[in-house]
Symmetry: C2
Subunit: 385 residues, 2 copies
Amino acid sequence: MKEVAIIGIGMTKWGELWEKSIRDLKTEAALKCLDDAGVDKVDAITVGAMSGGLFNGQEHLASIVADYLGQRFIPSTRVESACASGGLAVKTAYMEIASGLSECVLAVGVEKMTDVDGGEATFALASAADQDFEAFHGITFPGLYAMMAMAHMDKYGTTLEQLAQPSVKNHYNGSMNSHAQFPFKVSLEQVMNSTTVADPLRLLHCSPITDGSAAVLLAPVEVAKKMNKPYAVILGIGHSTDTIALCQRKSLCQLPAVEEAAQRALKMAGKTIKDIDFAEVHDCFTIAEIMVMEALGVVEPGQGGPACMDGLTALDGKFPINPSGGLKSKGHPVGATGVAQIYETVSQLRGEAGDRQIKNARLGLTQNMGGSGASSITHILEARS
Amino acid sequence: MKEVAIIGIGMTKWGELWEKSIRDLKTEAALKCLDDAGVDKVDAITVGAMSGGLFNGQEHLASIVADYLGQRFIPSTRVESACASGGLAVKTAYMEIASGLSECVLAVGVEKMTDVDGGEATFALASAADQDFEAFHGITFPGLYAMMAMAHMDKYGTTLEQLAQPSVKNHYNGSMNSHAQFPFKVSLEQVMNSTTVADPLRLLHCSPITDGSAAVLLAPVEVAKKMNKPYAVILGIGHSTDTIALCQRKSLCQLPAVEEAAQRALKMAGKTIKDIDFAEVHDCFTIAEIMVMEALGVVEPGQGGPACMDGLTALDGKFPINPSGGLKSKGHPVGATGVAQIYETVSQLRGEAGDRQIKNARLGLTQNMGGSGASSITHILEARS
């Protein structure tokens, strides 16, 4: 199989960016990425976006990226897997290269979520759940994850303090990330006393509504070797799906698609989770980070909560998680999130993460999730120079 | 490069199917396809759909297909390129195989368009155009293609009779297609006297709003060889993009992305357009079929209209186009159209097209277009047995 490298990364500031359109955002991230790689022409583009239709009245997003980069007539593909659309864009870019169809491929993730009002945004996000059997009846994503949190607390004794801790950690990490939407620290008390959204989840357990974009450039490793600077190689890719409706799962407090995707990626990479130095994971709600830790095998089922309190996943812990600040602090423009996970991982592997730099970061894992775990995509990246 | 075959095909009846949900449609087409191939387990799925969000309040469509086929946990990817989403699903399935990630991959195209009212459907379809610079200001697709038709008539002298003829031919072909939404013949007079939609386009120049799904199964050619029945091999794939806004093109009566995609596919196949026996093309409006003929190089620019009157593209002509009945008669569930083009082409290559069978059909071409030509995907398929 062809070895594919990531030779460039770029992203916009994330936040409530009323002065920038979806077109502006993805073009800015893409241009920053091409600048980083020192490349001005690509052979193909992939675009991850969840719902250009519901957020922006704009589908057909892939053609716009090619056009506004001045690269009309190249192949450009938009992919969607709800909040895992960004990870899917990177996987699809890999396939463009590994299939032999293209050589140098740009993967862009984007979402412009603040041009609609809160109710419309909630409706758009709920289209990642089962419309007929979930969303139509009124449940929204905070409600779905609240049920998962309740089940986890009931089965494993996970506490409210444990549920709050990933937010504290991720805001601490994000306070050092200039791209983050909310680059400030929060205390355990602030998280636990914030407004209730869907019991037991409070405002500071939840990732925000965000505008933003991120881009990464993929090329065969032979191209990367000629660049005379550090790069990352994609060692493994895993992609898996599950029932879209939470009620059709065997358990509310397991994420089998996350486990399957991780196992596929680790197998392809020839690694185990013990080999991994750090991970960027999908903390759309703090309970998600806890359940993902368990699904990845970082800790045993039920041990995610206690492990958060032990500092296992802190920047200086044994298995740092979300050095970028995660979805919680950095923000969650849904289609961009999976690409930004790759951005952070490559930054860490190149030793360019500044105050957030993890020591001896050689092997990183990303985990990008759609809906309440109905899809998951994992990449494993290795540092090379 | 790995040689990939199409080893199974399936589709639903197309039409105004109020008793079937989007979930029902794609599952039915997928099951028919698996039955046709005699396969009950696939390694991955791709789904082409334009706007599950705006038509159905349902994104995350790929997970649903895997789940309802009883194949949870496999990778499943939704792609979108407006009305070219189906062709893109087939291309992406090819990449899953050629990249080495998967072996047997199901490509499903679907759109369920009649659950919203006419205005909402028009808004959803207009999201394939430039929202900021076209749709927001009120133009819809009949208007965009009407401008293209006017420009073509002005530049080349294309007549109203010529503009009507593809509809007559496609309805004749579709009258023999049991899957078609409108399986009946129309006369030149009926087309020319039908209600004006956007001058010069009349109702019978326009493809309809349709519910429907189609699916095809891809596998390495070694798998196909063991099946002891005729199959088709993908010789070439071409994918190209252009400005999303029609007003930013150099000419209103050319489709350079269609030309580029076809040239890429022909080059990959090692063929010229003269080698091709027949084609399924994107006749969303009759002017589109005329302009596509010119872009593919079937006739010189400006000669599309006269060629329609000469019978060049009739079932028994030298270069049959749209033996299925095309989008005009068969219907146009936008995400399904590109997959159904492959369905028809494989049917023809297997010699199973019944009354519509083209004699000596060995090499077929499909051309699936997004928007007013902002994306195009071409496949070239060869008969094998």
